[in-house]
């Protein structure tokens, strides 16, 4: 029985007397044509370049991130080919060093964070019941910065200027003396692009979540996925500045001769490590917490129940994020810091398992006796439990400052990080993509192919990464382009490389499934009978998201609609891009604001900023020239378009 059938009211008592608020709406029915004209994006190239529709921008983020995922996957495949047997001459050390650096850099900066951001940009406004993010033009600008940063990095790679000092770029290897040329400059500046983009997404999603919720949606009623995104965005704000500052210092050391990382002039190599890992550890939680949100988003439809323990779940997300900032030294246990300090970070690294453990227990409670419907999204959720929990266990081992000294910088860590990142983020991501694909595209994914994707990914993943635990214990360090035959590491490496083929197959099945969806039937508005707002509108949603902004009364508005427990807002302007702005805590409407429409200024500004950033790699003068070039687009972006832009507002002068 679906939740709706179960909750059909059978109450024989007379209905309560009509209050003024529950009378049939006095306003006219929504003019969908007018809404579409106000909120739609014009067709053609201009529309594509100027759009500020969060759904289009969100899909761009996701598609671009998946392209980078494929590129990172090809790099991984090359790594596995090279390591499949000892003393392979497939890749020389220079190329290998570039490839493994590009693999890590691509996956961390160009895939994992942007794909989560993209799903957030697409779904957060729908989940909170509004029509767009708070700063639409900024949203567009953020996407272009991400794209241009990624293109810059790969352009450099194509010209044999790919970074080759690891995704973590420790000094002095990454400094001017041991990495001459522009490879590391390109890497450092790419970070500026992508972190700027991430900070922009963070601001707009935080403001959207706090200020643009549908009436009735207090903070206790927002979906757990939205909580996860809110927490992640706050982490981005506090973590990204660290890597921007660090990469800025590296760029300065390399280009202007500053001495931040030069011990003979009072600099310190550990300054780099502290700044990088102060960002780097929260970074993995920035990737993983949206995954946790996705699990909570998918489970209810298949278990046909709300997630158990909402307050505990929210508190766990917040606690995990908070604690995530107190772990970074566990990446530096071999560096020789005082033991007492190291012990603190061991304690923190252990205790952070607790909030995630509580989340897992709450999901088990949700699933208890639920006989969940086994569909492809749910298959990925089950995989998450197996893979991520194993990764969490090895994380505890690595968190021990003593034991870590054997495991640090070996293939044991490679195993661990892939178990937690693929288990904790990629499996939930694929589950979410299968779940939300009908909503985003209006088409369905094939069920059998979905199961095949999950099965191949699960088997291939474990085959590739489980043997690496053993390789680490048997002395195989990370980031080696080859190894001696006498080490005996060959067979396990060969096994891991076979697994890589199976992973590649699973991704290809998913691609075929997605591309083939065009030929399949159109998707219903609510194929899964799910509990959140996005399922109450069409698949895909119209440009204006909801014909009328809903008024919610619980955490499960998707299930409340049939009971008539979801109200609506009437008399909103449909000739303007008008949104409701609410009070941050209880979600009650406060005022109405107008959002901007399509504009080319964000792209123009992104181009001039890109000129400035790329130019600065070659000469500081270009940085200044670029900044001056940025002035016209900034003015254009901000300069009022006159009375036409805001016809409803009174002129003050």
């Amino acid at each position: 029985m679906s939740p709706r059938e179960r909750t059909q009211p059978a109450d024989p008592r007379p209905a309560p007397p009509e209050s003024p608020a529950s009378r049939r709406p006095a306003g006219p029915p929504p003019d969908l044509g007018a809404l579409e004209r106000s909120w739609g994006t014009p067709r053609g190239l201009w529309g594509s370049l100027a759009t500020v529709d969060h759904k289009r921008i969100g899909k761009r983020y996701i598609a671009t991130a998946l392209v980078f995922f494929a590129l990172g996957g090809i790099e991984a495949f090359l790594i596995r080919l090279q390591l499949s047997r000892p003393e392979s001459t497939l890749l020389n050390p220079d190329l290998y060093n570039q490839i493994f650096t590009m693999h890590g850099t691509t996956m961390m900066f160009l895939f994992a964070v942007p794909v989560m951001e993209g799903i957030g940009i697409y779904f957060v406004p729908l989940l909170v019941g509004t029509r767009n993010v708070a700063f639409p033009k900024l949203n567009a600008f953020g996407y272009w910065m991400y794209l241009f940063g990624g293109l810059f990095l790969y352009g450099g790679f194509a010209l044999n200027a790919g970074p080759d000092a690891g995704w973590f770029a420790y000094t002095p290897l990454s400094g001017p003396q041991y990495s001459p040329g522009h490879r590391l400059d390109i890497w450092s500046q790419m970070i500026t692009f992508t972190e700027l983009s991430a900070l922009i997404v963070a601001i707009e999603l935080i403001v959207t979540i706090f200020k643009q919720r549908a009436p009735g949606m207090s903070l206790q009623r927002i979906p757990l996925f939205v909580w996860a995104m809110l927490v992640t965005m706050c982490m981005i704000i506090l973590a990204m500045p660290a890597v921007m500052l660090g990469s800025g210092m590296l760029l300065l050391d390399r280009s202007t001769g500053t001495q931040f990382f030069n011990p003979s002039e009072d600099g310190d190599h550990l300054l780099w490590q502290h700044l990088f890992w102060f960002f780097g550890h929260p970074e993995v939680y920035i990737i993983f917490i949206p995954g946790l949100g996705m699990i909570s988003a998918v489970i209810p439809a298949f278990a046909r129940r709300k997630v158990f323990g909402y307050p505990a779940m929210v508190l766990s997300l917040i606690t995990t994020a908070f604690m995530g900032f107190g772990l970074w030294v566990h990446h530096m246990f071999a560096v020789g810091l005082p033991p007492l300090g190291n012990s603190f970070f061991t304690a923190a690294s252990m205790i952070i398992a607790l909030p995630t453990g509580v989340q897992i227990f709450c999901w088990i409670a949700t699933l208890w006796g639920s006989r969940p419907r086994f569909e492809p999204p749910f298959a990925f959720i089950v995989s998450f439990f197996v893979v991520f929990i194993l990764g969490g266990m090895t994380g505890l081992m690595l968190g021990s400052t003593s034991l870590d000294l054997q495991l640090h910088d070996t293939f044991f860590v490679v195993a661990h990080l892939h178990y937690v990142l693929i288990g904790g983020a990629v499996f939930p991501l694929f589950g979410a993509l299968h779940y939300w694909f009908p909503k985003m595209t209006g088409r369905t994914l094939d069920r059998a192919m979905g199961f095949w994707t999950a099965a191949l990914l699960f088997v291939g993943f474990n085959l590739t990464f489980f043997p690496m635990h053993l390789l680490g214990l048997r002395g195989m360090p990370r980031r080696v382009y080859t190894y001696l035959p006498g080490t005996g590491w060959g067979p396990l490496n060969a096994l891991a490389s076979v697994g890589a083929v199976i992973i590649a197959a699973s991704v290809l099945v998913f691609l075929a499934n997605a591309i083939g969806s065009r030929k399949r039937a159109a998707a219903a508005a609510d194929p899964w009978e799910a509990e959140t707002l996005e399922w109450t509108t069409a698949s895909p949603p119209p440009s204006y998201n909801y014909a009328r902004i809903p008024v919610v009364t619980s955490r499960t508005p998707g299930w409340d609609v049939a009971k008539g427990d979801v109200g609506e807002v009437v008399n909103m302007r449909d000739d303007l891009r008008e949104v409701l702005v609410c009070r941050p805590l209880d979600g009650e409407p406060e005022h109405r604001e107008q959002l901007p429409g399509p504009s080319l200024w964000p792209l123009a500004l992104a181009i001039t900023v890109t000129i400035s950033f790329i130019g600065s790699v070659f000469s500081p003068l270009w940085f200044v020239v670029g900044l001056i070039l940025c002035v016209p687009p900034i003015v254009g972006w901000y300069w009022p378009e006159g009375a036409r832009e805001r016809p409803g507002l009174e002129k003050a002068a």
Partner: protein, 324 residues
Amino acid sequence: MIGALALLGPVLPGGVPTPSALRPAAPQAAGLESLWWFMLWTCTAVFLVVLAVLAYAMLRPRTEEPPARRAAEIITAAAAVSVVILFAFLIATMATSRKNPNEPRPTDRIVQIIGHQWWWEVHYPGARPDELVISANEIHLPAGRDVVLDLTSADVIHSFWAPNLHGKRDLIPGRHNFFRLRPENVGTYRGQCAEFCGYQHAHMGFIVFVESPDKFEEYLASQRKPAAEPVSADASRGRQVFLTNPCVTCHTIRGTGASGTNAPDLTHLASRRTIAAATVDNTAGHLGGWIADSQGVKPGNHMPPHLVSSEDLLALVAYLRSLS
């Protein structure tokens, strides 16, 4: 011995056994191995229990939602058990690290290791400055005695890791890291650099020879002597080739006037089992090949190829192989 092992498959240079963190030969590594097993069994049990409960939750017949209070109690209990386990891990960790204090004491023997791209410079300071022994890539230590390694780097960050003896410790330019070892079992143990350091990070290995204290002192005494005088005509010619080629700008052979410090000290090269940082065995063929084309063995390493005539090369190899 090496011949017998060869029957089992390829052998590491120097005939050294394969490394493993699970075959400890020193109390430091043994303590870490015990911690490993404790954590592994506990974590495996937790993993299996949680997955079993999850499977049961999903497979059992459909019931109403569990009553909130009961579920909350069980979750709280599970969280409490988790805290106990995590705390146990913390205590076990702290107990293990307390057993391994690294600060050098006046009675400790110090061995200095300086990391280079892509080889290990080893110094054995003695009581007097003239007792200093300098070698490369093969480290001798006395069994059953505490040794404190003084680790630093001349270029980028490296990491010293011999899994059978202890965990790893980084070599950081501008810092000295002290690392206490007490190898117990006589034998040979392979180690490898464990911090990415550039092109030949993969081929920056080393061997630790743990020997009885007497043999250790013998080793130091023989290493203190200056280079052996060449006996054969070939070796004499080889020494001439060495001294008249760029070799002297990087290498030292004490007693010949060659005092370069960018590359391994060759004074007692023939006493080493391996060359190129434990990458290949120290044989005439490998040595000749290394001199003629080191880039073929370790592409990207800092030794340029040397074009010497074949007679000169053979003489040079003969000389170097006489430096025991």
